[in-house]
């Protein structure tokens, strides 16, 4: 099992912040922001020393919860400071970005990192449709098409045009190309039938997140079935699972930590917007409909002492089939960075050495 650390650039606000999304920019403290990015690098140096396999970043906007609206810039900054660890972009949102530009920037990053890049591509959480004004009804199709543009831009040797539904280009011919051939390990992220099918058809990996084993297991099973239909078999490395983990010396302490977590959804939207999204956006787990927005916090799937967690990881491998576990340690947005550092040490010293052979 490979272990990845999900880095969110912990922003510690000097004053209490409203919980709504988007968070008003006026609350932003410039000094606290600068400190968050400085601390991020220090923390990741420890993450690298502890022997984590990957560090991951993701794209979220308009909120201090995950302070990497450009995950590509974050990754480039991290790549300049860390020398060994694999950098995973999980991921840039495809539907509201220019996919050719994404292909170029990811190729640059792969070259900067000397081939230490892993890429996950995704539609994005529902609230992000408000970022850059994306029509929710078009998001899925734009994602699928954009992902295909990226794969094509990485691999075609001559200038080409693209006559799409949502994207049209008459001249694409990127420089640099990715360092890894034909391109960095790539994942279609999401538990939906569409994401799994896309991944299977293009022989790329599948990334699932923030749901219990039995839910994400449905998606990874569906993904493997689809891969078989397309005549290939994925390895455990083809499946990444991002999940919350609360780790402490004892199970009791870990559960006490969970009780102290705020009991609210990660992105709290105005009621009218939320209600509208419930009908305009559609989401599914391997084809079974699910609500586009959560009403409560993201589940904490891994919780307990190192011994308990090792057992949970073993079970995760059996039930989900994941070969890479991307850990959101101490929930994103929580600004208790000391607690996060203790969790990192525990994972690095008490868990990592015992899950390598899983």
């Amino acid at each position: 099992m490979k272990i990845s650390f999900f880095e969110t650039a912990r922003y510690r606000s000097p004053e209490p912040l409203p919980s709504a999304w988007p968070a008003p920019s006026g609350f932003y403290d410039r000094g606290a922001g600068a400190r968050a990015y400085r601390d991020m690098i220090q923390r990741l140096q420890l993450v690298e020393e502890l022997g984590f396999d990957w560090v991951s970043v993701s794209e979220h906007h308009y909120s201090p919860r995950i302070l990497t609206p450009s995950p590509i810039l974050a990754a480039a900054h991290i790549a300049a400071h860390l020398k060994k660890i694999t950098i995973a972009l999980l991921g840039p949102m495809v539907p509201h970005n220019n996919p050719v530009q994404l292909a170029e920037e990811l190729a640059m990053l792969d070259t900067f990192t000397e081939g230490r890049l892993v890429v996950g591509l995704l539609r994005g959480t529902t609230n992000e449709y408000l970022t850059y004004d994306l029509n929710p009804l078009e998001a899925r199709e734009r994602t699928d098409e954009g992902m295909e543009v990226i794969l094509k831009a990485w691999t075609e040797p001559h200038p080409f045009g693209w006559q799409g539904r949502y994207f049209q280009y008459r001249t694409v011919s990127i420089w640099p190309r990715p360092l890894q051939e034909p391109h960095p390990p790539t994942y279609a992220l999401g538990v939906s039938r569409e994401a799994c099918e896309f991944a299977a058809r293009h022989r790329i990996g599948c990334g699932v997140s923030f749901a219990p084993f039995e839910i994400v297991g449905k998606s990874t099973r569906y993904y493997r079935e689809q891969c078989a239909r397309y005549g290939w078999q994925p390895t455990p490395d083809h499946i990444v699972y991002r999940a919350n983990m609360l780790i402490a010396d004892t199970d009791e302490e870990a559960h006490a930590m969970l009780r102290r977590q705020p009991d609210r959804a990660p992105f709290v939207l105005r009621e009218g917007v939320r209600d509208a999204f419930m009908t305009l956006d559609s989401r599914n787990v391997a084809g079974e409909a699910r609500a586009p927005l959560r009403s409560g916090p993201l589940p904490t799937t891994f919780i307990g002492s190192p011994d308990t967690i090792v057992e949970q990881i073993r079970r995760c491998r059996e039930e989900v089939g994941a070969g890479v576990l991307d850990l959101s340690l101490w929930p994103a947005g929580a600004d208790d960075v000391d607690a996060l550092m203790r969790s990192l040490e525990l994972v690095g010293t008490k868990v990592l050495p015992r899950v390598r052979d899983i």
Binding site: K152, E156, H158, P159, W162, Q163, G164, R170
Partner: protein
């Protein structure tokens, strides 16, 4: 009215008129519609079938869609020996119709014919568009065959979106298949490929990203062999691009015929509010 709803208003090709022309002792049927610069279309191995793309193109061009000798209702063609000969016959047919110079569109097998026609009569061709051309194929590739369902799965990326797919008369199919297998030539025709470097005609090659008859990766070889050839992928279309995505197909084809190399320059306005 949007292009889509206009195109679907009538059965495809309803505005086309039938005509016949004699060339090389063949009586050649064609369908014609529209004004503007002439656009000659050479169909694929399945014969002539008018699609919404023909309707859309006929609003900007005078579209002449030929039924090549031996296809459809025409008599069995046992005389034409090579696809090059077929191309020469089609060049004569256009001459007989008084078309001096024209835009040339060839589909699949008709793409190979169009390449030969461009090589044989370069001065008369303003620009050539090859829709999923079959002139360069991976070794051992087989043309689609089997039940109508199997054929549809090979030809279309999304057969389920097309509604009822007309089934051709089995006798006509058998006749066409015999002709095509005799004329289609080797998967890699060294004689043809050697000559492609002569081409001065602006050329656009189109492949559907879901083409299951000719892999879209063949597009690269045309770019290597034809000086300045353009390659455009039509997303989410199979082999029969013009049937599956007529609006997307027409947009790029018409733009290329009208502006040739300059079609790479975007002219679509993006202004939201003046």
């Amino acid at each position: 009215m949007s292009e889509r709803s206009m195109a679907q208003h009538d059965a495809p090709g309803a505005g086309f008129e039938e005509g016949f022309v004699d060339a090389d002792d063949f009586r050649i049927r064609y369908m014609v519609s529209g004004d503007g610069a002439p656009l000659v279309h050479l169909h694929g191995a399945g014969g002539l079938r008018l699609t919404p793309a023909h309707d859309l193109l006929s609003r900007r061009f005078r579209v002449i869609a030929f039924e090549m000798p031996g296809f459809g209702q025409s008599a069995e063609n046992t005389r034409t020996r090579t696809i090059r000969e077929l191309a020469v016959t089609m060049a004569r047919a256009t001459e007989k119709l008084g078309i001096e110079s024209f835009n040339l569109l060839g589909t699949s097998f008709g793409g190979t014919t169009a390449l030969w026609l461009t090589l044989e009569a370069p001065a008369r061709i303003r620009a050539t568009v090859l829709e999923a051309p079959a002139a360069i194929r991976p070794e051992g590739s087989e043309p689609p065959s089997g039940s109508p369902e199997e054929m549809a799965r090979r030809l279309y990326g999304h057969p389920e979106r097309l509604g009822t797919i007309p089934v051709a008369d089995p006798a006509i199919q058998a006749k066409q298949r015999t002709l095509v297998s005799r004329l289609r030539g080797p998967d890699r025709d060294a004689g043809l490929e050697r000559r492609l470097s002569e081409l001065q005609t602006p050329t656009l090659v189109l492949f559907g990203t879901l083409d299951a008859v000719i892999p879209p990766a063949m597009g690269r070889i045309y770019q290597q062999l034809i000086p300045g050839a353009h390659l455009v992928f039509v997303y989410d279309a199979g082999h029969a691009i013009s049937t599956e995505r007529p609006e997307a197909f027409t947009d790029v084809v018409a733009d290329f015929f009208e502006r040739r190399d300059a079609f790479v320059i975007r002219r679509t306005p993006t202004l939201i509010h003046p």
